[in-house]
Subunit: 145 residues, 8 copies
């Protein structure tokens, strides 16, 4: 059973790499897809379509260009992992979770205990809540065993 | 053309009432639907199904009970207004936006300029961004004229 | 917000009537729809299309005739209540739950504690688990307040 | 024509292996997918996400983790085989059948004659009812000939 | 429960009127919708869009104009009755049945015993097979009781 | 059978009014919905959300605000009339036609003979092509008779 | 562009083989899928599930077993060819056409001129009408060139 | 991540080839699909199904034959590029854009600045607007990096 996992959310820690590396080590055969996780180039994704003087429109263009990849990732994945770090608002991660829920795509959340209350609606529609990348790997390993 | 508007997001300011009152004053005929906006009873929505000792499960039960109303509201609305205040994380609002986007439901965002960058993905899928309830009313009035 | 509730499952106790009566008493405005709950006429639903000598085909015809009403009820409801009694197998109730889950229709389960383990997959996709009709009424009242 | 078959239901007999072995022997080229059929590890599927003191929540977490695999299996299969043994309630099997029916996925049931009446709604939406794994193999062989 | 029934197929006998009259007599509250059942005006439905010299295109235009009404009827009905007389080919009736099946709309067939073998695929996807309009009325009465 | 018709396209002639008036005169009971047909206020639809210095973004904002009404109109209509005048490019009309086609919504085109070749793909997916508003009225009258 | 074509309808002439052979000769790379075209084994498809004394039920079981293959064929094809011979009623072919139309699957019809009037609704929803297998091959060749 | 791009619109300039060549040069691994871009053979696509004396029907037949390839291209692509040249009406390109929008398929537009106002609705639903094929290549390169 080929299995594609979309890794959505926080870009300022190494959680994606830890999941990918651990799956490789354990020979869990999963294809991972991610949005562009480089902050700077992500913010500049739409610049090639012409410079903007207003922040709103620069952001708008880049967000829509990034959405091309994200849309394909969500529509084609079997499972999404939605990661919330403690610092940032990461509304895009919650947006992706809502998109998955509407499509009936299963997803797991990955966040610390202190975010429980703030994420209760996002967790309520999830297939599970993990606090460490290692738990995610364990579930992937279990799912594909 | 009967028209239903779902008012999603922030519950700590009077933005909903300002929209509802202004529409009434202007005779804009819209049916508004909202989630429960009383913080305390919303957090307690699942308590009638049995007490929980762990916060996670109390939140989980309440979020799922609240989802019954939200689900009907989103599925049956013609337009959603997604409001982000400056203080809170309001991941549920971003979740609703993603849900709307996946269903092809139009939505408008309502937030201050300082949130532009953090909300760029949510705004990118929206039909417009407003900063005041009065702008929302103007668009509703225009849409139904 | 007009609201339609489909009452699925057990037919040998008065749980439906208790919900309907309590909603009326509390002025919770809900439209209830149910399958035919009279055991005998339900089993005979297909007899008017010609007698059958084999049990399988008699059951088959009746189940398909009953499905006309059930299909309309599920497709048009905003919420389903799925009731499992302790005695019978009630696979039709679990079938309805799966049908709701695939359509993204919210549902609540209603069953005793002793059925928790056997119903874990059905409960996992539900918006809540209640043990008494009164709890269901409380949630309907809350949802439509 | 590549063909994927999802084997849902009873885990306490060797029906899956008999189907898989007979297809191999007859060179019927089918890809089979199944839920985790090991009772103990299936019940423990969610334990890696943290221990629970209440049975309901332990079951809840495990059922949702197991649903990841089942969801992919159902969504991607061309045909489901839904097996009901005589002993257990197997509401998850009926739930899977309802899910298939709502998606328009064809399925066959596999159960003894004594369950005919109890399964009439599940059988009514099926593409056929078999009593032995060998009949299932014959239909697969016929379908892919 | 408002209920709409689409009456598809044969136009050369009084089966529609018999169903409508009997429902009225029995106070079965159903809204009936039908295609244009007047052969001549149905064949001429597209003539107002310009005369055609070739039969194929005259038929083509009329069939597409008639499809406007039929499409709304099928999409909005809760149940379709598909009637096959003994004389004609009535491929449009079988086409409507296939359309209903793909949408998950329940339908009943109405035809004589001699057509059983020729209609086996159409009957296989139906919720029941009747031979008289009176049986249809009985099922409608039962469904809405 | 309640029937809603969406009138899309050209805004510089009186075709909408001619259809609406003739239906009223003939007592054809149809509910008509249209986009904003006032050129100036349509172009300014987004201005209330803040002035723009670049034409592209002013157009962008207005088009998205106008899309709220159009989206509801298309999703809820039973039939669309897509009108192409001889002068303008009217890509929005062709866009609406493609949107209808993807949703399976029937539509009629209304344009002069000289546009036949340029509109061949749009006409190919239509239920008919008319050259005068009177023909449209005749079809509506026929459809709802 | 991989391309799958479903060949539906008449089983008493060699039209399928003529299309398949000509595509091979012209190196048109298409994957063809068909229902079981052997009359006798098709009628007996359900016999392995138990003998039936009534013709209706024997037909019913076989039609449902055959539907497994047909369902996968229709759902996964890019184009269907629907063939009507002059002799038989072939309601299954018209049923398949309606099913394709509801799913938005393109199809071509293949039939003689004398069937034009009887097939007008089926042709109206088709992407084209051919009278010879060679025309079908020419369109496949053109489509995949 | 395999990625398919549908190149829709203008056929009188070399924009397709420039995109395809530049992707090859940059090793951007994309599968491109296009409609038939040869004007003459495209207009003649339906001629093999029989000659027509009226232009409307010749165009109709050809457009429907061409739609087979276009339908598969749109349904299976991850991204569409919709190109509008300055000269022609290209309503088929706007039709494709509307079709993509309704399906939730991302698309980019490619056109000169002078078409901004006329294309505002088409651009409003797009993920971006480019003026040169090189910008499209840059976005594809970025998306698949």
């Amino acid at each position: 059973m080929a299995f594609r996992v979309y890794l959505s959310g926080e870009i300022h820690s190494d959680w994606r790499q830890r999941i990918i590396d651990a799956c490789k080590a354990k020979q869990v055969e999963v294809e991972f897809v991610s949005p562009n996780t480089d902050h700077e180039s992500s913010d500049a994704a739409g610049d090639c379509l012409g410079a903007e003087t207003q922040n709103f429109w620069r952001d708008h263009k880049s967000a829509k260009v990034n959405a091309i990849r994200i849309q394909t990732a969500i529509q084609s994945c079997d499972l999404a992992i939605i990661r919330f770090g403690n610092k940032y608002k990461q509304w895009n991660a919650a947006f992706d979770a809502g998109f998955c829920a509407a499509l009936g795509k299963p997803y797991l959340t990955l966040h610390d205990e202190e975010l429980i209350h703030a994420l209760k609606e996002v967790d309520a529609a999830a297939n599970g809540w993990a606090t460490t990348p290692e738990q995610i790997v364990e579930i992937l390993d279990y799912t594909l065993r």
